[in-house]
Amino acid sequence: MLDLLARLGHNGLKKLEAFGSAGIILMQSLIARPQPATMLPLVIKQIHFVGVLSLIIIVVSGLFIGMVLGLQGYTILVDYGSEQAVGQMVALSLVRELAPVVTALLFAGRAGSALTAEIGLMKATEQLSSLEMIGVDPLRRIVAPRLWAGFICLPVLATIFSLVGIFGGALVGIEWLGIYEGSFWSNMQNSVDFSEDILNGLIKAVVFGFVVTWIAVFQGYDCVPTSEGISDATTKTVVYASLSVLALDFVLTALMFGDL
């Protein structure tokens, strides 16, 4: 029993310590004299890597999720004779919830795991050490551009996800199930509020982008530089990032829409 308590305490302290060093890494990467001339090309390269190359998976998933929403919404709403509300339902659920959450989950799997593996392998092959010995801070050179790219990309990807999803919903609703086009769009236009829905969705996306990339780069930077260490770190990135996104989503939703 005492042993169990001791182990619990030990694990708790270790987790806390990891959280602390993740915080230190974050601060040291981001808080520094800005050097746009060296930073910008690196950030753009990373935006290409984590953002542009994630586009296909985001667009395809967005399309299918929009189509499914349209179909499911229709089968329920048609019983109440209010199938024109499909547009509003698709748009609200995408913009408020599904776009930021699903994008963040896909992003964690597609880009987060790649970031962790890349940084972990750089550590294993002594590239991070050799950067240090050349006199370049790997936090500024390797970690910071990846963090910025994640913050920038996720809101953009979530927006694209919403747009494609709405298109998918319209495709199913209007073209296939024959909902009247005018009421589909005007219902959507009337119900989606910019600050209430779109802005809150974007805030979620920014927060998720921050959390997912932070976890990914920390796991890579902190991993044990062996093959098992890297595979372990990659798994942790996906698991921790997904759980944090889902938990944070609840917290943010409660804060944003809880008093409605």
């Binding site: 092959t125 050490s129 240090e132």
Partner: protein, 269 residues
């Protein structure tokens, strides 16, 4: 114990351990300026660790590491990075940046630390690559190089800024005899012509004895012998003789600590 006129790296009472195992226990090492100093010893004695301690990548538990009068463990981040720009280090694995070409790898330290024009950088890069015999490989990516070639590119990168101190971690491992001869000459030439202080970590006894001015032999967390190559060659200590001649039997055990061989074989599992 010899003393040198001009010491560039002065390590005093250094202690460092990994977990329970002491890597260094109260060790003193002086590296003379402008000379080639070799650190030798059986594997696992922490020779690479010593280079990392000098480079400030690891912190000692005790003792001071003075590089040109500055105590490395007590420098702040900025001072440390400044100090590192005066050091070059050749890593055991080469540690080339895999996302940029050979040319860009060698140019990297110059782009970071200097404002040289693109033409100047090009000239220096080609000179350094020529010195290691790989000028023709400048457009290759690190993944296209063999292990030995990668190490030579890494050497070109380590000396790109003509640092005052160059640390070589196993420079001869994995080189064919021709490249080995060229590297030995290159290290010697760099040292004589430019006055670099060189620290070589190596097991390759003949090559190291041939170029080193001064040798430290490390075993069991201590310096077991120090001296010029002649002194090491003529040492009478059994430990030193065993290492120099590569004998399996002697005071340095070949086997990792284990139980009795015969009884372990006969034992039921």
């Amino acid at each position: 114990m010899d003393s040198f006129d001009d010491v560039i790296i002065d390590i005093k009472q250094l202690s460092f351990s990994r977990g329970e195992r002491a890597i260094y226990d109260n060790v003193d090492i002086q590296v003379p300026r402008g000379k080639i100093t070799a650190i030798m010893g059986p594997s696992g004695t922490g020779k690479t660790t010593l280079l990392r301690l000098i480079g400030g990548q690891l912190m000692p538990e005790n003792g001071s590491i003075l590089v040109d009068g500055k105590d490395i463990p007590r420098l702040n981040r900025r001072e440390l990075f400044k100090m590192r720009s005066r050091m070059g280090m050749l890593f055991q694995s080469g540690a080339l940046f895999t996302d940029i070409s050979v040319y860009e790898n060698v140019a990297f330290p110059m782009r970071v630390h200097t404002d040289l024009s693109e033409e100047m950088i090009r000239d220096v890069v080609l000179m350094k690559l020529h010195a290691v015999g790989l000028r023709g490989a400048r457009d290759l990516m690190p993944s296209e190089l063999s292990g030995g070639m990668a190490r030579r590119v890494a050497l070109a990168r380590a000396i790109a800024l003509d640092p005052e101190i160059v640390m070589y971690d196993e420079p001869f491992a994995g080189q064919d005899p021709i490249a080995m001869g060229v590297l030995v000459n290159l290290i010697r030439r760099l040292n004589r012509a430019l006055g670099h202080t060189s620290i070589i970590v190596s097991h390759d006894i003949q090559e190291t004895l041939a170029i080193a001015d001064y040798i430290y032999l490390i075993s069991d967390a201590e310096v077991v012998a120090r001296g010029t190559p002649e002194e090491i060659n003529n040492a009478t200590s059994m430990k030193v003789r065993q290492f120099i001649q590569g004998l399996p039997d002697g005071p340095v055990p070949f086997h990792f600590p284990a139980g009795d061989y015969q009884s372990e074989l006969l034992q039921d599992s």
